[in-house]
């Protein structure tokens, strides 16, 4: 089994994917504007790095949905406007609070919704606690893994920042969706929690998709 990563060509994709820390964690690197039929053949899963230009992803929707239809797993990170090109994704914008950590004792509202999920054998719960870019309403059949409590949501609703949807759209595919953007922050050399989250996420993908 092997793992692909989709590369959007931004500097932070270059640093996170090709930089020394994580370069051995991907079996195949695919630059999205050149993604072609067959490129994902033989991959069990593909990570869609955060902040790929959504126009490029929408243009490759047919190939990405084909991968899901054949039973592939897509791990889709933040700011990719996944609701515009993937099934069942319901996302709503929230203004990003980059500053929550400056207030001593502040509770940004993060809750681990499924502590027994396999991903938390690799991802430390504390490493999902940083700013997020909008909230998801997981559709029926999906499992929220990490969420923001309603009382911490400016709109009072709360929602998921990480969820797992097996059998998406009544098919064989699996979608793991997050509104965190660790490739951007790790690749910008600017947020240790994002680097630790990526450490955990890639330890999980090593175990789940690369053996």
């Amino acid at each position: 089994m092997s793992l692909a990563v989709l590369d959007g060509g931004a500097y932070y994709h270059h640093e996170a994917i090709r930089g020394p820390r994580f370069r051995d964690r991907f079996d195949r690197v695919l630059y999205v504007p050149e993604l072609a039929d067959g490129d994902l053949d033989g991959c069990a899963a593909a990570i869609v790095a955060d902040r790929i230009l959504p126009a490029a992803l929408r243009r490759k929707r047919r190939i990405l949905l084909g991968f899901l239809a054949r039973g592939g797993t897509l791990i889709v990170l933040g700011e990719n406007r996944a609701h515009e090109w993937l099934p069942g994704v319901s996302w709503s914008f929230r203004p990003t609070n980059f500053w929550w950590w400056l207030e001593e004792g502040a509770d940004p509202g993060h809750r681990i919704a499924a502590p027994d999920h396999e991903i938390f054998r690799f991802v430390e719960p504390a490493d999902v606690v940083w700013h997020y870019h909008g909230l998801f309403a997981p559709p029926p059949g999906a499992e929220a893994l990490a969420a923001i409590a309603p009382q911490a949501d400016p709109e009072g609703k709360g929602g998921a920042i990480l969820y797992d949807h097996r059998g998406v759209a009544s098919g064989a595919g699996r979608l793991v969706v997050s509104s965190l953007d660790p490739f951007y922050h790790h690749g910008s050399h600017f947020m240790p929690a994002a680097t630790r989250f990526l450490d955990g996420l890639l330890a999980w993908t090593d175990a789940a998709f690369r053996r």
């Binding site: 931004a10 902040r51 126009a55 490029a56 400056l102 910008s188 600017f190």
Partner: protein
């Protein structure tokens, strides 16, 4: 001539939306989706604004178009870390490894109209946190004018130069300069002064400020 064309990367937040919706500034620039660049005639613009989220592999493939724009007297402004040097004067970003706050303090080493009246303390600090402005540098080419450096090692975080093909190039090794429009303090001056600098154009008296 229009002062600028900004290449958009569909980000939900950040400076693009602030810049394009302010009547005084948004009326001076067009915004085009990044991948429309290859179908865009640049000769009607004085400046091209390229932000940190851009697909640099795509820009590298568009290098002949960018060079033709520069050769015609245009100005390219790039904010971000260089990963794929898409112009001859660009070199790969070098981060300051293991930085402390003191390594991120901004110092002005040359005056430049884009930063006129901007207090370097407002660039170094936001809510008491250092590092938003820059955490490393894009190495400038020979002959460039370095405007700001970071920390005791004087890492160049901003430079301007005249590319060999012509025109002007301004490079900031950090987030978009137009993303400071709604911050408190003098950093908000950068975006309007950047448009003024583009409007002034590349043709200046010999020895004049870039």
């Amino acid at each position: 001539m229009t002062d600028a064309l900004l290449l958009d990367c569909e980000q939900a937040e950040g400076g693009v939306h602030l810049l394009m919706t302010r009547p005084d500034l948004g009326s001076r620039l067009d915004v085009a989706p990044l991948y429309e660049l290859e179908r865009t005639e640049l000769s009607g613009y004085r400046g091209l604004l390229v932000g940190l989220h851009v697909d640099q592999r795509y820009l590298a493939a568009r290098r002949p178009q960018l060079e033709a724009f520069l050769a015609g007297g245009g100005t390219v402004v790039f904010c971000g870390h260089v990963a794929y040097p898409f112009l001859a004067e660009l070199s790969a970003y070098r981060p300051i490894s293991g930085y402390k706050a003191a390594d991120l303090v901004v110092a002005r080493v040359a005056e430049h109209p884009v930063w006129a009246g901007v207090d370097v303390a407002d660039l170094t600090w936001r809510r008491g946190v250092a590092g938003f402005y820059g955490r490393g540098g894009n190495p400038p080419p020979a002959g460039a004018t370095v405007v700001h450096t970071l920390g005791p090692k004087a890492v160049p975080v901003d430079f301007v130069c005249r590319p060999a093909v012509g025109g002007r190039l301004l490079v900031h090794a950090g987030a978009d300069l137009w993303g400071y429009l709604e911050t408190d303090g003098t950093a908000a001056r950068m975006a309007p002064q950047l448009l003024d600098w583009l409007a002034a154009g590349a043709e200046r008296p010999a020895g004049g400020m870039l």
